[in-house]
């Protein structure tokens, strides 16, 4: 794939009945990455995915997948042909059996892989003759994932793929995703609020908050560069605005000032010295911390 980014949006906006679901989302998902798309419920994750797959029209702004505009009907057909999608409702027909659903789907995709189909049928222990109506939530997710993996897609888009799954089923789903990404070099874009899943398999993360991008980074960069610095003062912590690059949040509570930095500790420490703190402490930050610090909490 020649393009550096498989998914790109610029100032994307979507308003439903006067409610702004997206408020200028600018996002880029690198080709060949596994990108975790994080945000609180209602932050705009599903709306973004719907727009990318032509299931909703943006109010304004630009979005492309494989460099193709998502709001052109002809391009959208092409996008969906090259994309495997696992949505919330899984798009399964209750009246069919597992095998019936597979044959029905395979008929639409000339590049369908029978080899992968058999591999995942076995690995997911789906039971080809079972009726879809009788499948558990985890089974339905695994079947939907099988349908998305076998069609020879260049991009997998998954909306909350592990929500409601037990740990064993979650591990099976994640394992299929990394295995597939390694073998076929596909790009995986998955929304989640399971931070542990994202930390485990993603190499990029995008955090969306209230319809806007809050953080976008390689996960290794995040681990290496995000630090929390705690400064303790003799009296009340001073009201001070840092000039150094990468200061994401400053919180003051009594004698303590806590600084979240996305650019290591040196800049903040250098500047903090002139404030004469009585003690200073630095600690790495987990993805959970970053998530909690960057998304707005309702009050």
């Amino acid at each position: 794939m020649a393009d550096a980014f498989v998914i790109e949006t610029a100032d994307l906006r979507k308003t439903y009945d006067g409610v702004e679901a997206l408020r200028g989302l600018t996002l880029a998902v690198p080709a060949g990455s596994i990108c975790g798309f994080l945000g609180r419920t209602g932050a705009g994750k599903t709306t973004t995915i719907k727009i990318l797959l032509g299931m909703a029209r943006p109010t304004s702004g630009r979005a492309t997948v494989f460099g193709l505009p998502v709001d052109s009907p002809a391009a959208s057909v092409d996008i969906r042909r090259r994309t495997g999608f696992v949505g919330d409702d899984k798009g399964l027909y209750d009246a069919m059996t597992v095998r019936g659903m597979i044959r029905h789907t395979a008929a639409f995709y000339p590049q369908w892989s029978r080899e992968l189909e058999e591999k995942y049928l076995r690995r997911f222990e789906l039971g080809a003759e079972r009726g879809i109506k009788t499948l558990s939530r985890g089974m339905r997710t695994k079947l939907a994932l099988l349908l998305a993996l076998c069609r020879g897609a260049d991009l997998l888009v998954l909306d909350e793929p592990t929500t409601g799954l037990d740990p064993a089923a979650t591990e099976q789903v994640l394992q299929a995703l990394v295995g597939h990404a390694a073998e076929r070099g596909v790009t995986v874009f998955f929304s989640s609020h399971q931070l542990a899943d994202v930390e485990q398999i993603a190499d990029h993360v995008a955090i969306i908050d209230r319809g806007r991008l809050a953080v976008a980074s390689g996960l290794d960069d995040l681990r290496q560069n995000y630090r929390r610095i705690q400064l303790v003062f003799d009296g009340d912590a001073p009201a001070y605005t840092f000039q150094t690059r990468g200061v994401e949040r400053v919180k003051r509570a009594g004698r303590v000032m806590t600084v979240l930095s996305s650019a290591g500790i040196d800049g903040v420490l250098g500047e903090a010295r002139q404030l004469n703190p009585v003690s200073t402490d630095c600690a790495p930050v987990t993805l959970k911390d970053i998530f909690l610090e960057t998304v707005a909490v309702e009050d």
């Binding site: 060949g32 394992q175 295995g179 390694a182 485990q200 398999i201 290794d220 681990r223 010295r273 959970k288």
Partner: protein
């Protein structure tokens, strides 16, 4: 080989993987000429990102610990054992750097840090002499 990354520690997973490979070589679990698992099987087994495994392998090759033979896979180099000393020093440097950062963060000056290190080494030497 048992690689168990900790996804939620602040350390990038590719660095953890590199450390574990180096550790396996130091303990003799991996020897010169041994083949490492392929990127895809290892990513799948550990359920981590294949790009992360590829990055760790590239860095290990850059450090001379492994050799990537095109199409054949990754192999522990003969030089790996000789690398032990430099690796140990490099690991030590990381520890010292972290300690120095912490001290500086607490407002300890460079001269004071130097004195602290020297005092600590002197104390060790003194202890050794007492015993001997």
């Amino acid at each position: 080989m048992m690689f168990r990354p900790n996804a939620s520690s602040g350390v990038p997973i590719y660095l953890q993987l590199m450390e574990q490979v180096k550790h396996a070589i130091e303990t003799g679990a991996l020897r010169a000429g041994d083949q490492l698992p392929g990127i895809r099987p290892l990513a799948e087994e550990m359920v981590i990102n294949p790009n992360t495994v590829a990055k760790a392998y590239r860095e290990l090759e850059h450090d001379g610990v492994i050799e990537l033979r095109h199409g054949a896979g990754a192999f522990v180099t003969g030089a790996a054992r000789e690398k032990k000393l430099t690796d140990r020093l490099r690991a030590g440097q990381t520890i010292v750097a972290a300690a120095v950062d912490k001290l500086r963060a607490r407002g300890v000056t460079e001269a004071e840090i130097r004195r602290l290190f020297e005092a600590e080494l002197t104390r060790l030497t003194a202890k050794g002499e007492q015993r001997g």
